[in-house]
């Protein structure tokens, strides 16, 4: 089964997102910040990453920038999932290496739509 790393400092958001990606036939893995997510990726690259922007220790943009420099780090499809909705911020996330972008609040339809646009399903 393909894996999806869900990175968010909110346990509730991680649970909700995990349930949604599970329904899309991904095995969810959870991380609470960018640094923890990076160490998960170094152990085994996931197929997809759903990542929040604002988190303690390491934020989503820094995590994605570093992920893309890792061996095999260009492979995962990275989808931001954040409350940041300004066009400049979205462009910044894409520049860091994100493939798609979800503006919170989200639902299962939106994640499915974005995964589909990113070629995951």
């Amino acid at each position: 089964m393909r894996t999806c790393l869900v990175v968010d400092d909110s346990r509730v958001v991680r649970k909700v997102a995990s349930r949604i990606v599970e329904a899309l036939n991904f095995e969810p893995i959870e991380a609470a910040d960018g640094l923890e997510a990076l160490s998960v990726c170094r152990a085994a690259m996931p197929d997809a990453v759903l990542v929040d922007w604002t988190m303690p220790v390491m934020d989503g943009v820094e995590f994605v920038r570093l992920l893309r420099l890792e061996p095999g780090g260009t492979a995962p499809v990275v989808v931001f999932c954040t409350a940041e909705t300004e066009p400049e911020r979205i462009a910044q996330a894409l520049d860091a290496g994100a493939d798609e972008y979800i503006m919170k609040p989200f639902d299962g339809d939106i994640i499915a739509s974005k995964f589909s646009e990113a070629g995951l399903i």
């Binding site: 066009p87 894409l94 646009e117």
Partner: protein, 272 residues
């Protein structure tokens, strides 16, 4: 809702718009009419239906029919279809219409996502063979849906269904907690209120007509009437697009699959 109320609504929906208000469609009727009841100051859907039964308010009847005909839509709905339009259908038409215009009609456009998707597709295709251009016309029966379409203003939820993020950034600007399509694209689409049960031969001719997820909501006879009308508004070598999952008995002159049907001019010559 009582059986009698639902029967009355079904009669009105069939007479005014050919709509088939049975099965799943009936379950949507009450929630859609609740919105109309609130707007019209009716204390309940039953009270609203009583006013319809009295038959003295044509404007109210029109509003109810509009609400019942309200369609679900999304940007680039059925991406495979838009890919075929981009790679096959529009380039082929451009070669046959050097210097001319490829006219596309989004028939039953609801809140405009399909029409704007076509406009974005055309903008992103760049110059076509023979300098052909693409023009998009969009129509719906529902005046409120048309007003929203014309505004080009969509919520976070709407722009995240079917619209890749780079396309959103390229063609929309942020407007408070909504997104507004660029003025150039908004002005590039022409909008009109059209009942597809009316005579459609006065429109067109169009090169491509999209009428998706409309025919399936109609009574069989009404669907055939609409199909005939759309055919009369289509170029001899034009394309008709229905919903990929819709069961539609297309006129014999059409060939194709997955809802993308080409009118075959040779067939009609032979038949004549």
């Amino acid at each position: 809702m009582t059986r009698e109320d639902l029967d009355l609504l079904a009669d009105i929906a069939r007479e005014r718009a050919g709509l088939n208000l049975t099965g799943a469609a009936a379950s949507f009727a009450e929630s859609r009419l609740a919105t109309v009841a609130r707007r019209e100051g009716a204390p309940s859907v039953a009270a609203l239906v009583d006013r319809l039964r009295a038959g003295r308010e044509p404007a109210l009847i029109a509003q109810v029919v509009e609400a019942l005909a309200d369609g679900d839509t999304a940007f680039f709905r059925d991406r495979a279809l838009f890919e075929r339009l981009r790679t096959e259908v529009i380039p082929a038409l451009a070669e046959r219409r050097p210097g001319g215009s490829i006219r596309i009609w989004s028939a039953g456009c609801s809140t405009g996502q399909e029409a704007y998707s076509l406009a974005m597709l055309a903008a992103e295709m760049g110059p076509l063979a023979g300098r052909a251009t693409v023009s998009v016309v969009a129509s719906d029966l529902n005046e409120r849906a048309l007003q929203k379409a014309k505004s080009g203003l969509y919520s976070h939820f709407e722009v995240q269904r079917g619209l890749p993020i780079r396309t959103l950034l390229a063609h929309f600007e942020k407007a408070d907690d909504h997104w507004r399509i660029s003025p150039a694209l908004r002005q590039s689409v022409r909008w009109g209120r059209v009942n597809l049960m009316d005579d459609l031969s006065r429109f067109g001719p169009f090169d491509i007509i999209l009428c998706r997820n409309v025919l399936g909501a109609l009574h069989a006879a009404a669907a055939q009437q609409v199909l005939g009308g759309l055919e009369s508004a289509l170029c001899p070598d034009g394309w008709l697009v229905t919903g990929a999952a819709e069961t539609v008995t297309a006129p014999a002159a059409f060939t194709g699959q997955d809802g993308l049907l080409q009118r075959n001019a040779a067939y009609e010559r032979d038949a004549a």
